[in-house]
Amino acid sequence: MIERWALVSGLKGDLETYEMIQSDLKKTRGVKTLFILGDMIGPERNCDALLNRLQNPRRGDLQPQCIYGWWEEQLLAEQGLRGEQKADALRLNQGEEAVTALLNAVNSTHLKWLASLQFGFIELDCGLIHGSSADIGDNLTSETSPLILIDRLTRLDVNRLFTAHSTEQFHLELTGGGLNSHVKDLNGESQYQQKVSKQSIIGIGAGEYYTIYDVGSDKTHFLSVGGQYNTKGKGFA
């Protein structure tokens, strides 16, 4: 049986794009699950309509499974609902106006729901997270050192890590290699080689750029809104 996941992030209140993705997904065979990896909100527009829709899907919508992202964390921190700090990262990067804009973009009735969202999902041997388990704002890209990527996979103890914060669409597979370890302690010396295990990091994109993951074949397909999903297509293995 075909099982595909749709992975979406960075909608930032854009209900129109969300509706277009939903309508794309209706035409795509085998998509059983829709994961939204955070950044449902942002400062650029009012996010209430999208948040309403995510919490109360329309008939025919694929039920979204949401986790929180960098923007949600900033909002929750500013409202005192997460950690000790305020939205310091946002304030530092984009100034006070951005913080005010974010507060204005989300009606406080949504805070409870946003605060209830999880940091990530573990499905099969896949980790789905906005940045990584090291940091919600961890900017993993196709250029990130593979050492860091292995560290992030190891921390979550998964073989595949789906990440969104960088907004880039990529599939980086670790295919081989190793590292020698020579350890000396008071009992003597020992040596072994750790092999690179076959693992992947997948960047899912943001906004109108999203990803379909074929669970059975382990292939990712990078799409944009209105783009045709071609089941005969190569896909990226």
Partner: protein
């Protein structure tokens, strides 16, 4: 030049004195301490005084941090509720004993000390509470040293001394993205790096009751792990006299803390 690195003194004055004497006898004057000056042991002020007197450069350890910041460490630091309770007891006792001057001194300690391409930390460059065990995933271990911009990383916190060389590493990757239709393959060669754990002066957990520390030769790069016997009875009696949990004395005289081996030492405290 040779220099000595000590860690995890844990308020055990007899052990600290014995180790410093051993280092002095070797004619080594350059000493770096990786923190945990206090905690568990019966002489927190005496040990901090001694380190200050001798002007030994020191990082802040997990205990030093907790004593100043208050005990907000998450429970992951302790393998069992019983161990946690004992830890809290030792924490309260130590916080009560320490003079304000010594508390200020612990508060002033840096979380890391850098000398060119050598970095000194208590746990890991990420956190004073992270354990870098000798069998940790080699790539993740290399990432800690490399990301910190060091060739050699000195750490403590595990109370088990070791020297780990990471070398001849490479990673092959295949990359697919929206701009390339055919996957791009590449191989990355990894740098050679070293992790040195200095063990523990005042709370050894490597299997013997001796205090441990390391000597580093910065010309040859060689590291020697040293064991020093000290008057354990003296410290054990002081623990009992101070009213600290007797198990701390029992541990020192048995040399292995099997009752409190962390169940998941690789767990990173996220607080």
């Amino acid at each position: 030049m040779k220099h000595a690195v000590i860690s995890c003194l844990h308020a055990n004055l007899a052990a600290v004195k014995a180790v410093l004497k051993d280092i002095d006898q070797k004619g080594i004057s350059d000493i770096t301490c990786l923190g945990d000056l206090v905690g568990y042991g019966p002489q927190p002020n005496e040990v901090v005084d001694l380190i200050r007197e001798r002007a030994i450069a020191s990082c802040q350890g997990c205990w030093d941090e907790d004593i100043i910041e208050g005990l907000n460490a998450c429970e992951c630091s302790y393998p069992s509720q019983l161990a946690e309770k004992r830890g809290h007891l030792a924490h309260e006792w130590t916080a009560e004993q320490l003079t304000d001057i010594n508390k200020d001194f612990l508060a002033s300690l840096p979380t890391s000390i850098r000398r060119d391409r050598i970095l000194f930390v208590h746990g890991s460059p990420n956190s004073q509470h992270e354990y870098l065990l000798p069998d940790m995933n080699a790539f993740a271990a290399l990432e800690r040293v490399d990301k910190a911009g060091a060739d050699t990383l000195f750490c403590g916190h595990t109370h088990q001394p070791y020297v780990r060389e990471l070398k001849n590493g490479s990673i092959r990757v295949r990359l697919q993205n929206t701009s390339n239709n055919n996957a791009e393959e590449k191989e990355i060669n990894l740098p050679m790096r070293k992790i040195v754990n200095a063990g523990s002066v005042g709370e050894p957990r490597h299997g013997s009751t001796n205090a441990t520390y390391v000597i580093h030769d910065d010309v040859t790069g060689e590291v020697e792990i040293k064991e020093v016997a000290y008057d354990i009875e003296l410290t054990c009696q002081a623990i009992i006299d101070a009213g600290l949990p007797r198990i701390f004395a029992w541990r020192l005289s048995h040399g292995f803390e099997f009752a409190e081996q962390a169940e998941d030492a690789s767990h990173v405290c996220e607080r």
